[in-house]
Symmetry: C2
Subunit: 499 residues, 2 copies
């Protein structure tokens, strides 16, 4: 593929300046339009050493309003980054709606230089490519425009540029041993690059090869690609706006179509309980055990997510407290999830969870989770039908990435009966020191019990996977629930430590 | 000091449980009150190895609502952290109003283990201590409650605990070589700890030594200290609220009292200009030079801040563009500063600038800065008189810390005449593609020219320091202004590179 690119393409200086004057104005104005239309734009620059990535990025940002973009350079992964799934680094940098993120080197490092230097192949390579495609598709589905550019130069041109850099004392250091090694491996890299371009090129995140032997030519091609893509999107938005009143949308079904005749929740035996003596005995035993396991997973650098979902007043707080009571606080964190802030809303809904991904060796306990998308957001209409329906797959993909990285993912649904909830609400209301725990919203949610039950059932079916299974915790009896949660975590960690 | 602490202090288990039941409830309720009153709470835990920091922190957080706090552990500084002033790590973690940050090990690392291991002494030690005191005072002035705890155990007790940890296979690894070395140095550490306690104990951020031979006793003492401090603050808030209507505040003067008879701005010669040919010649020459310097400071790991302030329409954007036009985008970032978001407002006003402190070797250009505090915030009344008056000192302290770290700090005031501004406003309004650049707010600010002039003059006098001097850029002529800014940066970098 890239070996067939015509690297003799060029443009003369006069024509370049003339075109750029126009293009720069256009891009500046398009930047304001994507801001007004809340479109996040992601630009990726990969390319040979000395192919001019720095220069072309600078030419790109000069006409832009600096309030609207950020440039990220990834020369290497830091220790903090290696302790997390490799896309974490980039998830946390995805731009807010209306803003632009420019990546000089990117997540493709994993399938380019890291692939060659660390010999990534086989399943690890396939996983990396599939993770990358998933990542880009999820962002595109959320409205991001993603454009990827590969700056291509010939081996001869690269040699010439390295020699020029080396001949100047203030740029000499920029040619590293690694660069020279990669130069030697030029032909081998061609195959790697071709494979990458082929396996990660998609309609929603296309690659464009820039003929960078002539940087002016490459710049023009870059501008044209960006301008055309942005104009196309804006045109579509206008079309949709002008027709949305007259035509019914066919893309979105109004009902879920999910069959709940065999409700999972209704088959749960909520009479399970544990007497006080047994409870205290087991609690002590398991809390000791789990502290030992916390040390083990720290030593073995295993990251752990424990995700708590459940009805209001199902006892999540008390359950988490028993789980963490004897843990070392340096090894775990409890992340409570409430409704998203405006800042969080301006990102992909999974962004705020990616930010909290535990480091290898650490435990993150989520008190409510990303499943809010298919529960409260679905029922309250905080997202479109299309969005929550897509979410099952997105969530499964995310959890799969975590598990591929070596993470243990434990998910709890704390289940209580409607009667039990009512009784607990009343107790809260009648106990002065507990009143703050009960709000009008809790009562409103309670009225939608039926709808929630349907959503929960669908969630349990669609996101119960071999790698991240759900555990339903019968929680009418709090003692039973706490012990079962503890035991489930212990078993999951034990299992993982055996590997 | 600590050698005189009575380590035989203890409490029996029954009494402990009885007290804790009460204290835990109290603390949970106080947590809600500090949230309602927007008080940020910072708790620092330092102490000997195996003194029980993990245990006591867990006992502290168990009754708390996890939405309200976060535990931070600093076992070591990462590479990213060593590339920035040491307080950066902690500034970015300071809690929002109403929330709690718990530090297990903290900024005191620098004057404890780092001091011993890296032989920090003399001026470096004094600077570190003064930086710490400044940091805590600035946060306290902003309303933070800061409590610091040192967990003290005897050498004998420490030995016993290490032996116990070592005897269990799942905890053995927790006793590191470093721990054993520190144990050998116990007596030397006593002196270091005493000096630290003495030199960093203050009314607004007091130290409490916890007798941790008996962890129950230490826990009770910890709870009492926190509860008393919070109750005291809440009591004061209530008093102030109830009396504020009847009594005039004497703490705040209503006028600045700053003498502006010799206005700095009025003495600036705005007729300075540069013809087109000279401009292009110098621009090319300087832009080449500054790119070389960018490489040099990267090699030498020197961080650089370039701070742009100036009248509306003074040409900051165009000036920054010429400065960065030929730079490598991997080495610099332009950070535009607009009015703070609600999230930023819930932090100390310097927090959002600390977050953007450049890494060693990188350049950060601020398009507007922390000086907003003594300009727009002063004039529009976005902060109290007391707050902006305090800000001169706070800003000088911050810049001093940057410079002590090895940073170059260049500050520009882009000056134009009132007539020139009017003309530029009119041009913007009459040029379709520039209209977005002019807002009603710009016109409103213009009406306050006189007030701004006073504020700017005071700012220039009070924050012009030997380590971070102001440069006034005569900007009626844009060409002259751009060249002067470039030249100033070049000279500052040249100067620094000579050191």
């Amino acid at each position: 593929m890239i070996e067939k690119v015509d690297l003799t393409s060029k443009i003369d200086e006069k024509q370049y300046k003339l075109l750029m004057k126009d293009y720069e104005k256009k891009l500046a104005s398009l930047q304001r339009e994507i801001k007004d239309n809340d479109i996040p734009l992601i630009l990726v620059f990969e390319g040979w050493g000395a192919s001019g990535k720095g220069t072309i990025i600078n030419r790109l940002i000069l006409p832009l309003d600096p309030r609207g973009f950020r440039v990220y350079t990834t020369n290497y992964f830091t220790e903090e980054e290696y302790l997390r799934p490799f896309l974490w680094t980039f998830w946390v940098k995805t731009p807010e709606r209306g803003r632009m993120a420019i990546f000089e080197k990117s997540w493709y490092r994993k399938v380019l230089s890291d692939r060659v230097d660390k010999g990534i192949k086989g399943e690890e390579l396939s996983n990396a490519i599939s993770d990358i495609n998933t990542f880009e598709r999820q962002l595109a589905d959320d409205g991001s425009i993603i454009l990827k550019f590969y700056l291509h130069i010939s081996k001869k041109e690269q040699k010439k540029r390295f020699e020029k850099l080396q001949s100047n004392s203030s740029t000499k250091w920029r040619v590293t041993k690694e660069d020279l090694k990669h130069h030697q491996q030029y032909d081998a890299y061609v195959d790697v690059i071709n494979e990458m371009l082929e396996r990660t090129d998609s309609e929603h995140a296309p690659w464009t090869v820039l003929e960078a032997n002539n940087i002016d030519y490459a710049t023009i091609k870059l501008y044209v690609k960006i301008i055309e893509t942005l104009e196309e999107r804006l045109r579509k938005i206008k079309e949709n706006t002008s027709t949305s009143d007259s035509l019914p949308s066919t893309a979105v079904e109004s009902s879920s179509g999910f069959n709940v005749s065999n409700s999972i929740l209704s088959s749960i035996d909520l009479s399970k309980s544990l007497d006080k003596d047994q409870y205290h005995l087991k609690l002590q035993q398991y809390q000791k055990k789990i502290r030992d396991l916390e040390h083990e997973i720290y030593k073995r650098r295993i990251p752990v997510i424990i995700a708590y979902e459940g009805w209001d007043a199902a006892g999540k707080g008390g359950n988490i407290k028993r789980l963490t009571e004897n843990l070392d606080p340096r090894g775990y964190a409890v992340i409570p999830i409430s409704s998203p802030t405006p800042h969080e809303l301006s990102h992909h809904y999974l962004w705020r969870f990616w930010k909290e991904v535990p480091k290898a060796g650490h435990i993150t306990i989520f008190d409510r989770t990303w499943y809010g998308r298919v529960l409260v957001e679905r029922i309250e209409g905080y997202c479109s039908d299309e969005e929550w329906k897509r979410a099952y797959k997105e969530i499964n993909e995310m959890e799969k990435q975590f598990v591929n990285f070596g993470m243990v993912v434990v998910k709890f649904w704390l289940h209580i009966s409607s009667d039990e909830q009512l009784q607990r609400f009343r107790t809260r209301q009648n106990t002065p020191e507990k009143q703050w725990k009960i709000t009008d919203e809790d009562w409103r949610n309670r009225e939608k019990w039926q709808q929630y039950e349907e959503a929960i059932d669908e969630m349990l079916v669609r996101t119960d996977t071999t790698y991240a299974p759900w555990t339903i915790i019968e929680s009418n009896d709090k003692r039973y629930a706490r012990i079962k949660a503890l035991k489930t975590v212990i078993d999951a960690l034990d299992e993982r430590l055996k590997q």
